[in-house]
């Protein structure tokens, strides 16, 4: 990784918000990875149906109306949410960076066509595109859900990257590289890409929160991750009929969503100010 990026990361982790956010995200990821070894099966339903139980020692977050442990479902939902979030953001950032680099460096007609397409795509609300795509599948497989969310999330990133490239194109070191016989591919890969990495990483961290909210929203509408797999949005959907009598079934997945999005945004904002020369 490049030196200025490593420096920005260090600066970001020194700030209070950045440290808190990174710690929360690390804790969530750790819980998602090792949690299932220690917790009861998230989809196991007890033979004698006890109805929703309030938080007790055996079930710290309580159980839902089918008697399933809310803690283990929340932890297993973290797996889904973080997986969808990380991979969908990776897809979106790759597409956005690629389109932005090509449009910005090539210029001319290609740039004009790509950016008008992005304008058009940005004019349609993302949720509508997603709903339309998701409705095609009856039970949408997770990889498809990730691809669909990623493929609808790169438009603003491509604009961001293109803007950076336009600024960089005027820098003498790009002309100097061209004067050394560097090919367009080399200019894009070796000279432009490392210089746009910073803003892209900020966009990715901030985008993570959006994607997790989006996935929760889709699952809440019953269109995202399908039962019996636990997802935060799906858990809140399931808990709807009992929300007055057993609020914990909806409260904990809701809190999980809030904490994750907050943590991602804290890290993103810390990185953003660390990369901004006026504050760093």
């Amino acid at each position: 990784m490049t030196g200025s990026l490593a420096r920005a990361l260090r600066v970001a982790l020194r700030s209070q918000g950045g440290r808190t956010g990174a710690a929360l995200l690390a804790l969530l990821a750790l819980a998602a990875v090792i949690g299932p070894w220690f917790l009861p099966d998230p989809s196991s339903i007890p033979e004698t149906l006890a109805g929703p139980l309030g938080p007790v020692a055996a079930h710290p977050f309580g159980t839902d109306q089918l008697g399933r442990d809310v803690l283990s479902r929340t932890v297993s939902g973290a797996r889904i949410s973080l997986t969808v979030g990380v991979f969908a953001v990776a897809v979106a950032m790759t597409l956005g960076t690629l389109v932005g680099l090509v449009a910005g460096y090539a210029g001319g007609l290609l740039d004009a066509v790509l950016m008008r397409l992005v304008d058009a795509a940005l004019a349609i609300p993302r949720l509508f595109i997603l709903l339309l795509l998701v409705l095609v599948w009856d039970r949408i497989p997770l990889p498809v859900l990730i691809l669909v969310i990623g493929a609808t999330g790169w438009f603003s990133t491509s604009r961001l990257v293109r803007g950076e490239v336009l600024r960089l194109r005027g820098e003498p070191f790009i002309l100097a590289a061209e004067a050394l016989g560097a090919s367009p591919m080399r200019i894009i890969g070796h000279h432009l890409l490392p210089n746009v990495a910073g803003p892209v990483i900020v966009a990715a961290t901030l985008g993570l929160g959006d994607v997790i909210l989006l996935e929760a929203g889709l699952s809440f509408l019953g269109l995202g991750v399908q039962p019996p797999t636990a997802s935060w949005g799906g858990m809140i959907l399931d808990a709807r009929p009992i929300v007055a009598t057993a609020p914990w079934a909806a409260l904990f997945p809701g809190l999980a969503i809030m904490v994750t999005v907050l943590a991602a945004n804290l890290v993103g904002e810390a990185l953003q100010s660390a990369l901004d020369p006026r504050t760093a």
């Binding site: 030196g3 016989g181 490392p194």
Partner: protein, 265 residues
């Protein structure tokens, strides 16, 4: 022996009211081991002449007529593919602002090795050894350690030395230096000019030195060409042109050089 032979070069930029010609019928010749200084005020077309030779004119400018013969081959009509081989390989270029001309997020060694390997099939280990040797050849102290330095960690003079090493990595026959010392301290200027001169002699480089500084031209060049409004108004040996300017514009440039006032302690 003429290495670079530019004849009647004309560069045009389209505007709303027709074409403008910032380079308008320029002819230059430089032999191996020879330095030609191209002097003139800002906007006279010096840098565009250099960029035209490199085939790197900013859009939408283009070469309208004339020829650029490098070792006999006309670059004015060469395809982009061929020009990419020529850049760095046959022609090296050094720019004015040494900090801005280095990629800020890559180390000196990275940028040097990239250029070495772009033009030769060279293993990574060999390229890094060659890079250290090149940095030593341009007089960078502690060359091996500097390979891992970031551009912002070097001084202005050290950066320009590194850039000269990068420009010469492909062993070009022609070096174009566009205001190579204008962004440097006066004390560093002389060091860099000496280095360029030594490299020219050692490697038999043909050198096109672009400068607005007549003192630089006088000390460095064998011959001088004076440019004004896209045309070469006067050219000849340093002595002829700077001691006995025939053209009004050259005389005006000479008069514009500030002198220390008499009676200064």
């Amino acid at each position: 022996m003429t290495f670079l032979d530019v004849a009647e070069l004309r560069v045009g930029f389209p505007t709303r009211i027709g074409w403008t010609h910032p380079v308008d019928g320029v002819s230059l010749r430089i032999g191996r081991g020879e330095t030609l200084a191209l002097v003139g005020a800002s906007g006279s077309g010096k840098s565009l002449t250099a960029l035209a030779i490199m085939g790197l004119l900013p859009r939408p400018g283009r070469i309208l007529s004339g020829s650029i013969r490098l070792n006999g081959e006309d670059l004015a009509v060469a395809p982009e593919r061929r020009l990419r081989e020529v850049r760095g390989r046959s022609i090296g270029m050094v720019f004015q602002d040494p900090l801005a001309s280095l990629n800020p997020v890559r180390t000196i060694g990275d940028q040097l090795v990239e250029t070495l390997r772009a033009h030769d099939t060279m293993g990574a280990g060999e390229a890094w050894r060659e890079a250290a040797r090149l940095l030593e050849a341009v007089g960078l102290p502690d060359a091996a350690a500097r390979l891992h330095a970031w551009p912002h960690q070097l001084s202005g003079g050290q950066r320009q030395r590194a850039l000269i090493a990068i420009a010469l990595a492909g062993r070009p026959g022609l070096l174009i230096a566009d205001e190579p010392t204008s962004a440097l301290d006066v004390t560093i200027q002389a060091e860099i000019l000496d280095l360029l001169d030594q490299l020219r002699r050692d490697q038999g480089l043909a050198m096109l030195l672009i400068t607005h500084d007549l003192a630089v031209a006088a000390t460095q060049a064998d011959r001088v060409a004076v440019m004004q409004a896209g045309q070469i108004v006067e050219s000849g040996s340093v002595h002829e042109v700077l001691r006995h300017p025939a053209h009004r514009y050259t005389a005006a440039l000479l008069e514009a050089v500030p002198h220390l006032p008499r009676g200064l302690p």
